[in-house]
Subunit: 168 residues, 2 copies
């Protein structure tokens, strides 16, 4: 039998902070404007069809535009792009956030970051509400994966880079 | 306008392989038996209530038991637990998989791995079909996070450990 002892939010956040995760800037462009935010809650769902998911707080400043645009691009950061992660994760005005990087676009028009280790240009096929967040199910319509640099990781509330000697 | 050019599965898999991710053994125990599998497609959804998600292929050997049990435990591996990751990710018989670790339980009865960097004991509140996979929405009912060792990471199809000098 499962007792109904609620888990403290701080306990959950502290335990989750221990998990290493890639860092992404998720961008979107369309009728509702151009926006972008830093995210670690991104994961692969299936390759048939190529689909990933992004968890987004419905209170986030980017939320309305992303959902109305119906498209987004997941730009997975290289270890040299820590300052961009901080800009897109804070209160920096949107224009200033984008000024820190070089951008192109693929199919959806969402900003595609130059120098990222991967770019997943996606249309949102479903938005599923879970508590305070939406789980956005995103089908990739175009992908770039050219940069051969190490990825940026966020673990224990700090940035890290993986270098080859770390391979086990 | 978004053209309907399908993204090749290999392109998607290769790009996804670049993303660093924590490695987990997801276990489940209940009327449908005891099972476990290795997963990297796990992410935090919301802390209100404390909720994470796990993506699971409906063709996986563990799928039926996990969904029928309605509970699971996400055990986030330490860098020393690479061999367990391999055992739970391959074709090793279930009894042999569990023989490689020390296990306890918390509230749901699902096996809780000793020495993991975090254990999230959960009940599954929703299973959402996306392509070949289910996205399992899981509410944490008990959490352990005691081990202070570095986590195991899987990047570029290889295992890695993070050590402190990597901090940027």
């Amino acid at each position: 039998m499962i007792e109904d002892t609620p888990v403290a939010i701080a306990t959950f956040r502290d335990a989750m902070a221990r998990l290493g995760a890639a860092v992404h800037i998720v961008t979107s462009h369309g009728n509702a404007g151009t926006t972008g935010f830093t995210a670690t809650a991104v994961c692969s769902v299936t390759d048939t069809p190529p689909t990933l998911l992004v968890c987004l707080n419905r209170n986030a400043s980017a939320y309305a535009a992303v959902v109305e645009n119906g498209v987004l691009c997941v730009n997975t950061l290289a270890s040299s792009q820590q300052s961009l992660s901080q800009a897109f994760g804070g209160k920096t005005p949107m224009a200033e956030r984008f000024a820190g990087g070089e951008w192109t676009s693929l199919q959806t028009g969402s900003p595609v970051l130059h120098g990222a280790i991967a770019n997943f240009d996606c249309r949102i096929v479903e938005a599923r509400q879970v508590g305070t967040h939406d789980v956005l199910i995103c089908e990739a319509v175009a992908i770039l994966s050219e940069a051969d640099s190490p990825g940026l990781l966020y673990v224990d509330r700090a940035y890290h880079a993986l270098s080859l000697p770390e391979r086990l």
